[in-house]
Symmetry: C2
Subunit: 397 residues, 2 copies
């Protein structure tokens, strides 16, 4: 069987994208980790008027004058004294508006107050402690781009500009279906030593949640053609993406590949792990048939499913970085390989990729992805890498 | 006013930690981003018996023999044929047990099947495609340490070893209370130009959620001493940590510092932003009184609150890394400074910290923390940095 290059399979996937024109409104207090569906543009300058950035006395700057008469006080949220004359000052608090013709704030620490006068003990420069109009942003500025993943500071910004109910992309519904007659579900006892516990379904569901999707874990299906077919067709009624694990390799019981047949857009790729991956498209829905070994399935989820999901969200984050490899690496296959590694930044700011603690063996080793592992990318044409080589790394989630 | 060094304030906080001996059980399907409260140890070798890592024919390796008689088939989950003789083979599928005295799997692609015989067309080495006993982990191995943040692959591992209901640390309840008479809540109209919209409460609450806490946003309180006092004391009835913003600097309306007085363990620090920070401890509860400016408050949350919360979770992640600075930086204060920057890894694997697009100005600029910003750390004793210097970076969340 000839396997297609990874880049070529990605091109096929990218040529089969749909426009995810599904937007919902959510309160910003429910928007953490969602993806913005619109650009957010500043409707006005912020701050709109000049404000004090400390507690002190607002003055019209005059380098020769040391004494100012206190006209009054503008506590935060009030604006009684809107202007002042030369040699006058107004007590002004952090965040309060500056009188319109004042240009400098003398902090309380720098003055001595006697009755209704201040004496400046320590000079400041003109403009000190004044937030200029538009210091944070100016009217018309694009503050957040469509496709931005909303984190804490984006929520702060949305609150500041008065956006309460915002447009985000609807979460794709992703069904996760593990297949295999040897697979037992969470909490089910193993009846013989040939049975194993399913880990794929919970792992993939967690990954999809972390990628911003709604994950639905389906019942595990046995290797019976009609059962598998029914479960697949049924899931397409209520999900946007179906991810199956198992049943795609060369065995007599690998039915999934047959069922997808006429709808298959990608049928295998020259990669390790995961060369038996199948991707099918049914109208606006996608099926990713991933291998049964959990390491393979989790890596495939990043190599393919993330590409689709991030296209839905208009997200543009690059997950590849370069790093310096700390060990030799010998290729195990003639394919493009993805091998688990740990990343660390050294004292010179260099990202170091390390293979220690990553067990050599099959694609079944779940624990190789623990502790925020990443993937060492080894191109098809290379035999491996030497310690000290600059290598490409693909970040997991 | 003399300000204490950051390191010294951290020492005080660390001397005032409590033991967070609060553990709950959660299903692994609800455990994403929680922190493990126990070590997870392998109770048995995995795999327990040798298994096939591909679809093929199990044999006793013999470099001279090309033909084997097919004894039968062991589909995944069944184990009818437990042993074989020389020159016999058993059809064996990915994930199936290997017959006990077989040592090699010949993949289906490598053989020609005629009636009940296979002929090996392409040789494999002894041991090929067999998962050895304990390949993933051995009995007694520590698989996950107490304090591990649970992500997708940790969930996969827990499922694999049959842990369904696991011990995680209880989420601390964190109340967030913005104070200030000029502050209006989400959706409230501004009545005059001296009023501003609160962003701190939603930002800090989001940060605490991202740090693994349960966040409760309290009503905004006005700058009235009795109101503030009552709100603080009331919140301590139902939270473990109270974070207030505003009301801590030198102004006439800054009551929070007075209220905390006798319980204060940290009273200011020689840092920019945030020198007016106050931390108080009431028995097993903590109050962090942060500055009112949102950039300051968010940075303080990382500098202090995260230290406390991660001690509760026994988390050991280091948030400091080194990087190469791409711009000159001039200190703005005589203090230890934390200034927003962007991080990028270049083609040689070097982490580059960049200050472009980060607006110069007061600590009010929320948007400086957007797009996954980090903090450039500039020690007290330096005047600044030159382009190309190796600098310390503190990661936000």
């Amino acid at each position: 069987m000839e396997f297609m290059e990874y880049e070529k399979t990605l091109d096929i996937l990218k040529n089969n994208l749909i426009s995810w024109d599904r937007v919902e409104k959510v309160a910003i207090t429910n928007a953490l980790n969602r993806y913005l569906a619109v650009d957010i543009i500043a409707k006005e300058n912020y701050p709109k008027s000049q404000t004090a950035s400390m507690d002190g006395y607002a003055i019209k700057f005059n380098s020769k004058c040391k004494e100012y008469k206190i006209l009054g006080s503008n506590p935060a949220g009030e604006f009684k004294f809107k202007s002042l004359s030369d040699f006058e000052c107004i007590k002004t608090f952090t965040g309060s508006l500056m009188p319109q013709n004042a240009d400098t704030l003398v902090p309380v620490e720098n003055v001595k107050v006697t009755n209704d006068k201040i004496e400046i003990l320590k000079n400041v420069n003109q403009g000190f402690a004044v937030r200029k109009i538009g210091e944070s942003y100016k009217k018309g500025e694009i503050l957040l781009k469509k496709g931005t993943k909303i984190s804490y500071s984006e929520i702060a910004l949305l609150a500041e500009i008065g956006e309460f109910h915002i447009s985000v992309f609807v979460k794709p519904k992703v069904c996760v279906m593990a297949s295999g007659s040897e697979i037992k579900d969470l909490g089910e006892p193993l009846e013989n030593e040939a049975q194993i516990r399913s880990s794929n379904h919970v792992a993939i569901a967690s990954m999809m949640q972390l990628m911003g999707c709604e994950a639905i874990i389906l019942p595990i299906v046995k290797d019976e053609k009609e059962t598998v077919k029914k479960a697949i067709l049924n899931s397409l009624k209520f999900c946007d993406i179906l991810i199956t694990t198992g049943g795609v390799s060369m065995g007599d019981y690998d039915f999934i590949k047959e069922i997808l047949d006429s709808k298959t857009i990608i049928n295998g790729a020259a990669i390790k792990p995961g060369r038996h991956i199948k991707i099918a498209k049914f109208n606006e829905k996608y099926i990713f048939a991933l291998p049964g070994f959990p390491y393979s399935a989790m890596v495939m989820c990043v190599l393919y499913v993330r590409v689709l999901v991030e296209s839905f969200f208009c997200a543009t984050k690059d997950h590849f970085i370069n790093a310096v490899l700390e060990n030799d690496y010998t290729k195990k296959s003639p394919f493009l390989e993805f091998s688990a590694c740990s990343l660390k930044v050294d004292e010179n700011g260099i990202v170091r990729a390390n293979l220690e603690g990553k067990k050599n063996g099959s694609s079944a080793i779940v624990n190789n992805l623990n502790n925020e592992a990443a993937l060492l990318v080894v191109p098809k044409e290379l035999k491996g890498y030497k310690k000290g080589d600059v290598v490409q790394i693909l970040k997991m989630i």
